[in-house]
Assembly symmetry: C2
Homo-oligomer: 405 residues x 2
């Protein structure tokens, strides 16, 4: 990998060779992939991208920690649509708003970006089985991307994962264990099992390569907006890996000279589970919380990647916001009604947080904002119904309609 | 519309001006849009397409019955991925197989192609409300595309529509009536209501423009396969509009000189509801059937567009196949396991039909086949679970895992 210098611990700074199966530092810290931006800048530019007809995340391959001879995996991940949202902007009270709909990915969440990288790195490591613990989306994306690439997957999922995500796992042929307990229980069991059985580890907070896949969402945002970097990017936060990836995407573009400024992040957590935001605000060590929210994808009481996430929020001069389940459901309805975008609860949480940030005066009204929808509402139709109500049941008789119109 | 000559009745041949709100012929026949292929050929070629960076269905605008000044609607519809499926091909026993995953559309079904056209035509007609009856996908796609374009939608949906599709409708802010009865009951009620309240009619079997949107799936197949037309295209059939659209897409490309041969169609219906296939085989007038299948999207006992569908099957020298619900569930599992594609039952029916066609020797083993997945399995997770089973529930204790590995 000519573009990668090393992997470096975010806690103690110790450096490692970037082998495909590195996990944590010996001190327990999370590793970060360090790039040679001079080399990257010699390989990629706005012009090379403009001429590139690969409309997937792999158009940013120059920025990815992948061996030059590794083939891209089969599923079409990335280059999700970004929609101008003038009606929603008006309702929220912000000048320019764009919705980046990452529910439009093969398994319908942003996590496909990480799992696509996991599949490539697993192959580089010579593994034939990949495993992870997940609140749901990381798992279903791993199962789908692994299946398409001919790899086996073993998934440890919290018993609270909604039906849609579990159905995906099973259809993709994963070996699925529904762990009775919290995400933390599922995570610990997966770590023990991966150690014991020697599978490739796709836990994003341990495997430093996965965040690198997630960062492509920011590269797309910048390119799709004709390299006019937004003022703010709102994203929901659970384990911390996604917001860290979002930040790294912009930083990488900046370091390689493709953009000339950086956005500020709006870190949105559920009021019922917001340990990262709390620690980011207070500077105190992270304290675990219970997982009380409808937004299962971000219900992470013991986040495994707080360091990178908190660094991202701070470095960007970011804003932290917590939202209630009611606010999340409201945002789901608004995204659907005004944009034709169906978000799962965690997927709409970013938008809910943006609404609150505007209401509380945390960001200026003339800001140019991108809100990332991280997952598709079809994964959790029960919450969709909860947000939007039930249909009117009628008999097939035209006279029954009059009272409705 | 310089590319359109007229709308012509497929039954009596009477011709009409292509106004945006035309529906059926005075004789009751369905209209077909007739193009000026000489003009189209002067506007589009393989070379112009190769240079076109609009990776949506609108890259085929030269073939669409849209006013030159009509803007494309907001959602990113079309250019869904096509995947080579060598492992599935081997299992099925066919030489070359490609899966066209049209579940990768904004509202997760092929119907987005028709609804995108409906939204444009509704605007051209000056309407602010669009309405339809639907087994589910036409409705959710209409609701989503209408919401994104700032139009209202009124939906009549059969009470058998699965939760995912109903949740989509509600989130997209449609006025939804769940009609107690069959698709036919919902259809008749919608027709009466559209007449009474003056909404724009998005019933695909009545509005001749919608099939024109669906045809873009075939144009993509041809272009994505580098203009090497497959020998067979397998697709599931309900109302008949989709297979008619698939056929028209290839015929249009042929007429405009972009391809030099045509594929044969594999028309797949559920054994429990196959009136079109039966009529296509026997030549006898279509007889209504009950709607006994898990594949709700193609459970259409009284298809409203049999003429175009049967013409398409016959003209292409096509094959008709019926599949059981068990075969459909098997195909769902195979698509998931070998391709990482999660199809709803009707979406997997095309592949199930292909399997049966090969098994029965209806198509040669060295054929080059495309199977269209028409909708995403997340729309009907109950069927997904039915197909793939349940996860293993375990306590978070590593010793419990040993018996599984």
């Amino acid at each position: 990998m000519k573009n990668v210098k090393c992997a470096r611990c975010v806690v103690c700074g110790k450096e490692y060779e970037p082998a495909p199966d590195i996990t944590l530092c010996s001190c327990g810290g999370v590793l970060d992939i360090i790039y040679d931006y001079e080399y990257i800048a010699s390989q990629v530019s706005r012009a090379t991208l403009a001429a590139n007809r690969d409309f997937t995340m792999w158009r940013y391959r120059s920025f990815l920690p992948i061996r030059e001879d590794s083939p891209a995996p089969p599923l079409r991940v990335g280059w999700s649509p970004i929609y101008p949202a003038p009606r929603l902007a008006e309702i929220i009270g912000v000048k320019y708003l764009f919705i980046k709909d990452d529910g439009q990915n093969p398994t319908s969440s942003l996590k496909d970006r990480a799992s696509a990288v996991a599949v490539v790195k697993a192959r580089e490591a010579g593994a034939d089985t990949v495993a992870c613990a997940s609140t749901g989306n990381a798992a279903s994306s791993l199962a789908g991307n692994a299946a398409a690439a001919g790899l086996s997957s073993v998934i440890f999922v919290s018993s609270r994962a909604p039906a849609g995500k579990v159905a995906q796992l099973l259809i993709f042929g994963a070996k699925v264990f529904s762990v009775e307990g919290s995400y933390e229980d599922a995570f610990r069991l997966s770590a023990q099992a991966i150690e014991k059985y020697g599978w490739y580890n796709r836990n994003a907070a341990i495997n430093p390569y996965l965040m690198e896949g997630k960062k492509t969402v920011s590269m797309e945002i910048a390119e799709q907006l004709a390299w006019e970097v937004p003022d703010y990017v709102a994203v929901s936060v659970g384990d911390g890996c996604t917001i860290a990836g979002v930040w790294k995407g912009f930083k990488d573009l900046y370091a390689a000279g493709l953009i000339s400024r950086l956005p500020r992040l709006i870190s949105v957590q559920a009021a019922g589970c917001c340990p990262i935001n709390r620690a980011a605000r207070t500077g105190a060590p992270l304290e675990p919380m219970e997982e009380n929210t409808i937004a299962d994808s971000i219900a992470v009481g013991v986040p495994r990647n707080p360091v990178k996430a908190i660094n991202a929020i701070r470095e960007s001069g970011g804003v932290t916001v917590e939202v209630t389940d009611v606010e999340i459901l409201e945002a789901m309805v608004l995204l659907g009604k005004t944009c034709g975008v169906f978000a799962e609860p965690a997927g709409a949480a970013g938008t809910a947080g943006l609404m609150r940030a505007v209401r509380e005066g945390l960001i200026p009204k003339d800001a140019r904002v991108v809100s990332i929808v991280t997952g598709n509402g079809l994964k959790d139709t029960a919450s969709g119904m909860k947000a939007a109500g039930q249909p009117d049941r009628i008999e097939p008789d035209i006279s029954r309609l009059d009272k409705h119109f």
